[in-house]
Symmetry: C2
Subunit: 350 residues, 2 copies
């Protein structure tokens, strides 16, 4: 545990843009979350707003309101993941005030805190840190793929999605926890900034890595986890989707990560790739995504449905439909957990 933290979401906590905050509210082993700072959702419990389950994390209107309670936090975390990864000028006064209040700042933006001279001077004067989780690493710190992945005997399950922002990280985290409760030694390999913020020990930030080193960094994370912990199973967090036009991803997990099983997360209530509705780029049917995954080699073990835009009845209808169509288990993770995927996971463990 690195310390106590508040999460800043400006006024976006109730939108998918705040998915970093949502992940941290669901759970993190790196920080003790004291509050969410959001002007629109203030006064409620952050868990209740997220999925109806209170988590004793109050939402307050801003930093001033938080400090007025007399509490202090070690970190302010930027809880928004916008598309361009740019720091919003509107955040600057809040960040500066947090630094003046003795807080270190954690950001997962492409645009770096460390590149803002005003912030670096202020942080130095206050003796606090600016932590850029997405800072690209220099090639001397990066690994090429070596083939050492072939020594890993743990099951390697890639948690891929048919689109961005469908809950791949959340599903991977739930699977890891469910397997542990079922007596398996399970680990998660994170591939995004939120995974690190949630306390991930093995992984890397995929999209901030020079392309030539992506496969090697992924292998290095998996092999390090294997050598240190020899888990029964590793769940590898996917990114984007195999056919997402703005950045196809997944073959790295399937091929370089040598995955031997896949869990696919799919949102039946979404027609177009998120953000590309105006282009008319439709998400491919689930059976076609299963075929594409299996053309790479690994078998799809099960499906996790994202129920956005669906009534509970519609969600159950889709669940039955896909179970019949694909003859593999289909779960609604948020509504009913992921336990019914465990037998399929166990089938890969010897």
């Amino acid at each position: 545990m690195d310390g106590t933290a508040v999460i800043f979401t400006q006024r976006y906590y109730q939108s998918p843009q705040a998915k970093t905050a949502h992940g941290l509210v669901r759970g993190t082993e790196r920080y003790q979350i004291l509050a969410v700072l959001d002007s629109e959702a203030a006064g409620q419990d952050a868990g209740t707003v997220l999925d109806g389950r209170p988590r004793q994390i109050p939402i307050v209107s801003g930093l001033e309101a938080f400090l007025a309670t007399g509490q202090r936090a070690d970190y302010l975390i930027i809880g928004i993941a916008n598309a361009g990864g740019k720091l919003d000028p509107a955040w600057m006064p809040v960040i500066a005030d947090a630094i003046r209040a003795g807080m270190s700042i954690v950001s997962g933006m492409h645009e770096l805190l460390a590149d803002q001279p005003v912030l670096t001077a202020l942080a130095e004067a206050q003796g606090v840190r600016l932590i850029d989780v997405r800072r690209p690493r220099h090639r001397d710190e990066l690994h090429f793929w070596t083939g050492e992945i072939h020594e890993v005997t743990s099951a390697r399950i890639a948690v891929l999605g048919t689109d961005c922002a469908v809950g791949k990280r959340t599903a991977a985290r739930m699977l890891t926890q469910a397997c542990r409760q079922d007596g398996l030694q399970a680990e998660m390999i994170y591939t995004g900034q939120t995974g690190w913020m949630q306390g991930g020990q093995y992984g890397f930030v995929f999209d901030a890595t020079l392309n030539d080193f992506v496969s090697g960094e992924l292998e290095h994370a998996i092999v390090s986890c294997y050598r240190n912990l020899h888990p029964d199973v590793m769940f590898i967090e996917g990114q984007a989707a195999l056919r997402n036009p703005s950045g196809p991803c997944g073959s790295e997990m399937l091929v370089s990560g040598n995955a031997n099983g896949v869990i696919l997360v799919h949102p039946p209530g979404r027609v177009y790739y998120k953000g590309w509705e105006h282009l008319g780029r439709k998400i491919f049917p689930l059976y076609s995504e299963v075929q594409l995954v299996e053309a790479y080699g690994p078998r799809v073990l099960g499906i996790a449905l994202n129920t956005q835009h669906l009534s509970h009845e519609e969600a159950l209808t889709w669940q039955r439909h896909y179970e019949k169509e694909l003859s593999i288990p289909v779960v609604l993770p948020v509504e009913e957990g992921v336990n019914s995927l465990i037998p399929a996971v166990r089938s890969l463990i010897h």
Copy 2:
């Protein structure tokens, strides 16, 4: 044309490691190549050694021997593409001597000339440039994917391979030239450092780009080419292979580049992915690669065979075999050119 150049290959001209040199000997519009510097192949014509066709480019034993002829060159190009992309300490004296002789240095290594203080000081003193083609660009210079690719009406043909170092760039260049001779306006989108060195105007260096910007840089290159030239067809240079374990690649061209056709380059004489023979990772059968490509959407228009390790008779046998199996044209580019692929290319042009 940037100027005259010599290509330094140390003693590796006759190995696949010197593929950058090989590409430049085959042709470049950026430099006039005066000589190849290679201690093992000295005394021969660089074209003859490459593929039996003289190109009036002498191989001399080293820089000293070149300078002794009384000639001068504007550039020394490092013609080796090793796996780690590291500068070899053994090259340093040659690079330093070239700078002292007034030559600018061109390198496609991951390790940068500009990070070597000895070289930067020397270059500054001599008033020459250190050109690092693989220098990663800062995020401010990079593009995200926007969807503007949908305005492009030119045919977009991805030239992919079933492995690394099979001749994707060479096939793309030959196709571009053959189409031009056939009266089409054809352009090539480069995606590697050698493509830039050969004079490519539209493209980027894929493997030296932060992963989140790969799709956008590819789109930007294609859209820029389209807006400036409105060609009939663009050939997009592939990288690695869809299932190459050390770095799968290709979905970016198929999905973000919105390719509507594919030419696949395949080496029937090679059993394992290059460099991974000891892992036993076999190259997948050609029909299975065609299926995987087509699972992404675009149709495979034709095959180009790399005839390494094959007799001419064996190459012809494979050609007939694949034509029968796949019912699409199969060519031997080096031996017979790529003209018989042109009708398939034309089928995409309206």
